[in-house]
């Protein structure tokens, strides 16, 4: 291995930055350069919404202080890449400069989907992914907006709705499916979130698609037409119907791409010394049965980065993600999931347990195989311990054992209502079992919130 090799990482999101940090940990000699036109310093993309809502300043979204990069000898190049010259092993920037690499890691992330709607490029129509999108959204909502329309019911859509609600802008939220995010969430959970969206005075329109965006003579959006033929006057349109790999500048080159950059389980592309990780990588074969070939989640991006860093410095290992987990926050309701919980399942193969608090804001679902072993859980409005479920699923615990020990899985702050006791009682009533539901501790009886 070349002692002074130059590792160039294209993109400084969570994948690229994690990769850079871990390469530096494992190899103190090589030269590392992080290239990004979006922002010189790494920031947390997931926190952009909080900047808009005045909960944080942009600098607060930066996980490392500015001196961190110099201290770790990670070079930062703030520039947009025009093209990659794979033969000469060199990046060509929009400014005309170039940068030679020995190893290239492509970690360019995603861009918002646009499905060719008429008028989709009008002024005031945008997605939300990058720092520039945030700045654009701030500019686009500076002047008075009487109504905004958001198209696409996923995680970014609901974030955008929350952001606009902060500015007291009335929001109409178009969701193609018949339930919010119901390609991921089972019906009850999807309904739970849907109710909460309405509670926040957001005009949620299920089963409704965007047909057309209309703009005025100045090019600014003035209205949209829905699939139901309704015209909605609006001055802002958020396009949040998913994201796709941000690799247009790599198309029609020697690099093999499909929707994303094609990689094997070692993140190798078809070209030597060129790798791809994060949102922009597309695996030849999905990494696990319950995974997709393109993984567009913060956590998977981080794991790609740490695995590739290891592979660049040690004997390569294939990417083997562990038990699936994820989390999100829908306005005020937190959501976590561990293991596999699909939106629909074969009744004959799966045992389903669902509990919901009368408030309609706290819920727990557990799916088990026919033999009673744990598939996965969803929890809403309360917190569960990652370590507990990682172990329970990898060790193939039975659902009953999980419920019996649920007090140990609780991750809510002290004095919070012990929902796990209610869940244990409900499970016992439905499935039986030899365990005893936990009892309230003395402190919980004295001070704890009632369920």
């Amino acid at each position: 291995m070349n002692q002074n090799r130059h590792v160039v990482i294209l993109g400084n999101g969570i994948s690229g930055v994690t990769c850079a940090r871990h390469v530096r940990k494992l190899d103190s000699n090589c030269q590392i350069t992080l290239v990004s036109g979006e922002s010189k310093y790494f920031f947390s993309r997931t926190a952009l919404m909080y900047v808009y809502m005045g909960q944080m300043k942009f600098e607060h979204t930066q996980p490392y202080e500015n001196h961190f990069w110099e201290k770790n000898r990670i070079g930062l190049k703030e520039a947009w890449v025009e093209k990659v010259d794979f033969d000469k092993k060199s990046l060509v920037f929009k400014s005309g400069e170039s940068l030679a690499y020995d190893i290239l890691v492509i970690a360019t992330g995603s861009k918002p989907n646009k499905f060719g709607w008429p008028g989709q490029d009008s002024i005031g129509v945008q997605g939300l992914y990058s720092k520039q999108d945030l700045e654009l959204m701030e500019a686009n909502t500076q002047s008075e907006i009487k109504r905004a329309v958001i198209v696409g019911g996923g995680l970014i859509g609901i974030e955008m709705a929350e952001m606009l609600a902060y500015k007291k802008i009335p929001v109409t939220f178009l969701v193609r499916e018949n339930g919010f995010w119901n390609n991921v969430l089972p019906k009850e959970e999807s309904d739970l979130v849907g109710r909460h969206i309405l509670e926040h005075h957001i005009d949620l329109r299920l089963g409704t698609e965007l047909k057309e965006i209309q703009a005025g003579s100045d090019g600014k959006v003035i209205a949209i037409i829905t699939s139901k033929g309704e015209k909605i006057d609006c001055q802002f349109v958020g396009l949040t119907a998913g994201v796709s790999p941000n690799i247009d500048f790599l198309r029609n080159t020697a690099l093999e791409v499909n929707r994303g950059v094609r990689v094997d389980e070692f993140f190798r592309t078809n070209l030597p010394d060129v790798y791809a990780i994060g949102d922009c990588a597309e695996f030849d074969k999905a990494p696990a049965a319950d995974r997709r070939p393109i993984e567009q989640v913060w956590y998977t991006g981080r794991m790609h980065g740490e695995t590739l860093a290891y592979n660049l410095c040690k004997t390569p290992v294939p990417y083997r993600p562990g038990v699936w987990f994820n989390s999100a926050k829908f306005l005020d309701i937190e959501y976590q999931t561990y293991g596999t919980v699909p939106p629909v399942w074969e009744e004959s193969l799966v045992k389903n347990f669902y509990w919901e608090h009368p408030s309609g804001k706290v819920a727990f679902r557990m799916l088990m195989r026919q033999d009673g072993s744990l598939y996965g859980v969803n929890n809403f409005g309360f917190r569960l311990r990652h370590e507990f479920f990682d172990r329970a699923i990898s060790e193939n615990w039975s659902g009953e054992k999980v419920i019996a020990k649920l007090d140990q899985a609780n991750f809510d702050p002290e004095f919070f209502a012990p929902y796990y006791i209610e869940i244990q009682k409900a499970f016992k009533a439905e499935f039986g079992g030899s365990f005893k539901p936990a009892r309230k501790t003395f402190i919980q009886k004295l001070f704890g919130a009632r369920v």
Binding site: A47, Y299, P321, F325, D390, E414, F416
Partner: protein, 514 residues
């Protein structure tokens, strides 16, 4: 903002304005009788002579009165100082007592009226503003717009608030004679509780307690749905009202020494001063109980409670400074500096104050037990230096006045010697830690932003590492504001509490340390 909130805000502002104006209402005039009644025996004759030119004169404002007073008084003292006749110089400051005695004003005649117009209106307005806050919103995190707020993000309103607080503390500590009107205003309340006339300290204690109560109600509303925050807030409200404010006054009413049972040395830096010890020893079993109780808190209470619960049992559940920071200071918590550099300064400064407090107390005790044969003057000079620099300037002026500039825990983070002591126990021998939830962190930074102690919580959370920091006061806000349910304050086994090289779970390809 609802109508009630607008009315409340209006009332608060009127009350605040009245509070600022009242010190300027009234006239001042003194007579020989007043001077004799308000000076020590040894100074009576001299003071009566020095102030003779002022008798029968009427002064239209505190400025006029105090400037003539200082002129007369200083010319006498300066003369002696220039001749180096140190033992004849009058070191006592009689300006407050005489300004208070010579004060003639409608405020003195109708204290309740002016109290209601100022503090009363402000408290009632604050209550109206807060008690239904967030009524039309579901429970949840209410941090929207904080960095768009002039008050909460060092804008012009923040600057004005900070300046007001700093001026208030400077007047309170060093120029109380200018606020005798305010002291007269709360006189009947003091008479009611302790049977004694009010001092500037009673005025301060009363405002302090009312501020914690009103802003505590705000906390209840802001953290609706968060039982930890609710209980913690109720606790600081209770300890301030009962232990810091009422009980000491009631003790005085019962002819016992003034004593705050929850104040602990070295925050309570004069606990071992000779006059305190004399007070304890000369007050029979009650005095002895106070002395033993105070020592037990230091040697048993702090280590034992901190071992089981972390320093939060004191700093964010009991302490008065903490109580103010967690209620009145809550709107400013995001202004604390999170840089590594600030952390470095913090460790140097707070531990220096601890060393200073311990040294000073050591010298005091040696002095006391050696019958003042050793180090006589050094103790007094140390006391006055500490009282001025740490007790007043740091804890008061900077500690509270800097809320709108550097966050609500400047004193607790950089200065409090008790926090340093609690912190050492918490860091090295405690069951308390903040646990991170596996690999769920998304590095968003809410936790670090809202940490009042300037801890970069995210640094640990994103590595899957437990947070074990001496400065953490366990306010629980990092856990509350986390959007992914990553942080939990826990007391648990000491085993694996400190994990320097954590492994984030969820990736089976490799197991490497972060």
């Amino acid at each position: 903002m609802s109508i009630i909130q607008k009315i409340g805000l209006g009332m608060f502002l009127i009350g605040l304005t009245a509070f600022i104006i009242i010190p300027f209402i009234g006239k001042y005039g003194i007579s020989e009788e007043l001077v004799l009644a308000n000076t020590k025996d040894i100074h009576q004759e001299k003071m009566a002579e020095i102030l003779a030119p002022m008798y029968g004169q009427e002064y239209g404002s505190n400025f006029a009165f105090l400037s003539v007073f200082s002129e007369n008084f200083n010319s006498y003292n300066d003369e002696l100082k220039s001749q180096q006749l140190w033992d004849q110089v009058i070191w006592d400051d009689y300006s407050f007592a005489l300004a208070k005695a010579g004060f003639q004003s409608p405020v003195r005649d109708n204290p309740w009226l002016f109290f209601m117009l100022s503090i009363g209106l402000a408290v009632l307005g604050g209550f109206l503003y807060n008690f239904r806050k967030h009524e039309d919103e579901p429970a949840g995190i209410k941090n929207n717009g904080i960095f768009h707020s002039s008050l909460k993000n060092r804008g012009i309103l923040g600057m004005l608030t900070g300046t007001f607080l700093i001026v208030f503390y400077i007047v309170l500590y060093w120029f109380p004679a200018y606020m005798v009107a305010l002291v007269w205003m709360v006189n009947p309340i003091s008479e009611l509780i302790s049977g004694n006339p009010a001092s500037q300290w009673f005025l301060y204690g009363l405002i302090y307690t009312l501020a914690i109560i009103v802003m505590g109600i705000r906390m209840f509303r802001k953290y609706r749905g968060n039982k930890y925050q609710q209980l913690r807030t109720a606790s600081v409200m209770f300890f301030q009202t009962a232990f810091a404010f009422l009980i000491p006054e009631i003790l005085v009413l019962l002819n016992q020494p003034y004593f705050d049972f929850k104040n602990i040395w070295p925050l309570d830096y004069d606990f071992f001063y000779d006059y305190q010890i004399s007070t304890f020893l000369s007050n029979g079993s009650v005095g002895m109980f106070m002395l033993v109780w105070g020592i037990l808190l230091i040697v048993v209470g702090v280590p034992v409670f901190t071992y089981f619960f972390g320093k939060r049992w004191y700093c964010s559940w009991v302490c008065g400074c903490g109580g103010l920071a967690e209620t009145v200071g809550d709107p400013f918590r995001q202004l604390s500096d999170k840089s590594v550099k600030a952390w470095k300064y913090e460790r140097w400064i707070i531990h220096s104050v601890l060393v200073l407090a311990v040294l000073m107390t050591g010298v005091t005790l040696i002095n006391y037990f050696s019958g003042f044969s050793l180090l006589g003057n050094v103790t007094n000079q140390l006391h006055s230096f500490y009282g001025f620099a740490i007790g007043s300037a740091f804890a008061g002026v900077v500690g509270t006045g800097f809320y709108p500039f550097m966050g609500n825990r400047v004193w607790c983070r950089f200065g409090c010697p008790l926090a340093a002591y609690l912190g050492i126990v918490q860091r090295f021998k405690s069951r308390f830690r903040i646990t991170t939830n596996g690999g769920q962190c998304i590095s968003c930074g809410n936790c670090s932003t809202y940490c009042e102690m300037g801890i970069d919580v995210r640094w640990y959370a994103q590595r899957g590492q437990n947070i074990v920091r001496s400065s953490c006061v366990g306010c629980g806000v990092c856990s509350a504001v986390c959007p992914r349910g990553v942080l939990k304050l826990e007391n648990g086994s000491e085993e694996n509490r400190i994990n320097e090289l954590p492994i984030i779970i969820g990736n089976d390809s490799i197991k490497i340390n972060m």
